[in-house]
């Protein structure tokens, strides 16, 4: 399976996500409501969970309706809680909404079950994205994008300066509601697929970079889309090459890319280039120093607590050791079994037959083996048969079967009683052995077949 086959759909999904989230992210930064996506995603999840309380399975139309209804409520909450003369930052209310809806979701789940569902929302899994997911996302995001395009002036004005927008006669509350509603629809769809973490990064990271470079919306959009596409592509590619989970790999690479871009912007923008480079170099030296200190502390702690790590290793290898101990014990048991059997019938069977017999996994295999050997080489088969008859590990049923075979070949039972163990059957075994010694051994050639 090649990279295209596995990663094509996730890759396109990421591009679709970048397209809408970069745009929305710019609004989010302008409005200073950074964590609104977390809150809305959580509210949508709460909706699904409450639906579950009524017996509606997640991933059905009913569940979707529930999560949409809750998103609706969330949008209303955020539209209403934007106070005119901010005494409390809205971000506080957003954080509170997140915490409360998360807690309520846990309370609801306590009444039903489905904790797995809550976890899915956080992590998501990019690799399971199918083409129908991509198509659905594209259609919904295009619709939302269309609405935003037609209402762009109003939305932009409110995002830039809601006081001014209010002065110009806009119903800020109403438009905020529309904004958060469309936003919530996008978020609840994308978190289902990509997980809260990745969606948050898609929303904020390209916008941060765009903001630090320019103030013009169009340029910001282009920068955001460009970097989003490049970073996502490289991140996904790295996750393939280095074999890392895709979502976290993309997120981490976004972090690295932002740090690098920040450094470059700092160096380019600086008025005093020399001073900037000096600061930059100092920064790197400090980072290396801190890293070295951490590393040496880490190795020191590790080496001084070998006992602890040993214990951990022991726990880790417990399973493997258990297994090897079992095989050891099995080896021992097999050895003693071999000893017993060779004491009992060693004088009339060839050396090696007993080991061969013990190598067979279970009684069924042994019976089968004896049967085929009896057909191919009666002497060999009889040798195995007598081993089986002397083996107390063979259950009654199997010994009965062996006696039947013995009778079929020799015409006699030699007084063997399958209901008794070796102690009672020893004379019978002796008789069979005597009979066996009377049969000439087949040549090596046939014996080996």
């Amino acid at each position: 399976m090649n990279i295209l086959e596995l990663m094509a759909a996730p890759f396109v999904e990421c591009l679709v996500l970048v397209a809408i989230h970069t745009y929305l992210g710019i609004h989010v930064l302008k409005r200073r409501v950074i964590f609104v996506d977390l809150a809305l995603a959580q509210i949508a999840a709460l909706g699904t969970t409450v639906g579950f309380l009524f017996g509606i399975m997640p991933d059905t139309t009913g569940a979707l309706l529930f999560s949409m209804a809750f998103t609706f409520i969330g949008a209303a909450v955020f539209a209403v809680t934007r106070f005119r003369h901010e005494r409390v930052p809205q971000e506080a209310i957003i954080g509170l909404t997140y915490a409360v809806s998360c807690a309520v979701a846990i309370l609801v789940i306590e009444k039903t079950r489905g904790a797995e569902h809550l976890k899915d929302i956080l992590v998501g899994n990019l690799l399971w994205v199918t083409w129908s997911d991509v198509a659905l996302a594209a259609v919904v995001y295009l619709a939302v994008g269309g609405i935003h395009f037609f209402l762009r002036n109003k939305f932009l004005m409110i995002s830039d300066d809601h006081e001014k927008a209010r002065l110009m006669g806009l119903h800020v509350g109403v438009w905020d509601f529309v904004f958060y509603l469309t936003f919530g629809i996008v978020i609840s769809l994308s978190t289902r697929v990509a997980g809260v973490l990745l969606v948050f990064v898609f929303l904020v990271a390209p916008a941060i970079l765009a903001f630090s470079i320019t103030k013009r919306m169009t340029t910001q959009l282009l920068i955001g889309w460009g970097t989003g596409t490049v970073v996502t592509t490289v991140g996904l590619y790295l996750s393939w090459v280095l074999d890392l989970p895709s979502g976290p790999a993309v997120i981490a690479f976004y972090g690295v890319a932002l740090i690098l871009a920040g450094a470059v912007i700092f160096l380019v923008r600086a008025e005093d280039r020399k001073r900037a480079w000096r600061l930059f170099a100092t920064g790197i030296v400090v980072m290396l120093f801190v890293g070295a200190v951490l590393w040496s502390i880490g190795t020191w702690i590790a080496s001084s607590t070998i006992a602890v790590s040993e214990e951990v290793r022991q726990v880790e290898t417990d399973l493997g050791r258990d297994r090897s101990m079992t095989t050891e014990r099995e080896d021992e048991a097999r050895h003693s079994q071999h000893q017993v059997l060779s004491d009992r019938v060693g004088q009339c069977v060839e050396v090696g037959r007993i080991a061969e017999y013990l190598d067979l996994a279970g009684p069924e295999e042994r019976i089968e083996f004896i049967r085929t050997k009896l057909a191919a080489d009666p002497r060999w088969g009889l040798e195995c048969l007598v081993i089986a008859l002397a083996d107390d590990d063979m259950a009654l049923l199997y010994r009965e079967e062996c006696v039947q075979m013995l009778k079929a070949v020799t015409g006699r039972k030699y007084g063997y009683d399958p209901q008794s163990d070796y102690a009672a059957n020893a004379p019978a075994i002796k008789r069979i052995c005597r009979y066996l010694r009377g049969i000439p051994r087949a040549g090596r050639g046939t014996g080996a077949t």
Partner: protein
């Protein structure tokens, strides 16, 4: 029990490592797990290896427990080209599963249905 006999040697892929004992008892071979570390998304390399295995060994059954999002499991099995077998992991986990006996009956029934539907190649002979 007789029904379970026919599962001998059946090869499946499971979502999590949940049914090792059951699989061992009935000689069902779990070839691989989609999410070997529960909760941590698998890597692309792992997924492509599993899909390759499923293709080359003609494995068409994906075992998943019903506490996973069913839509999610269907997506996964679409992706890897398998028929999902979705069952509860413990009695009480699905309506007709009241006792442990029910549980095993249901597991075996579902696996047999899946095996027949996907027209598995005969049990692998050792």
């Amino acid at each position: 029990m007789k029904a379970a006999e026919s599962l001998r040697g059946l090869k499946i892929v499971a979502y999590h490592k949940n049914i090792s004992y059951f699989a061992e008892l009935f000689d069902i071979e779990i070839v691989d797990y989609l999410e070997p570390k529960p909760g941590i998304p698998p890597t692309p390399g792992h997924i492509s290896a599993v899909i390759d295995k499923m293709r080359s060994q003609h494995i068409h059954i994906l075992w998943a427990e019903n506490y996973f999002d069913i839509g999610q499991v269907r997506k996964v099995s679409d992706r890897v080209g398998a028929r999902p077998v979705i069952v509860a992991l413990a009695p009480g986990g699905q309506p007709e599963m009241r006792t442990f006996f029910d549980m095993f009956d249901i597991w075996i029934r579902e696996l047999r249905n899946a095996a027949q539907e996907t027209d598995r190649p005969g049990p692998s002979s050792h």
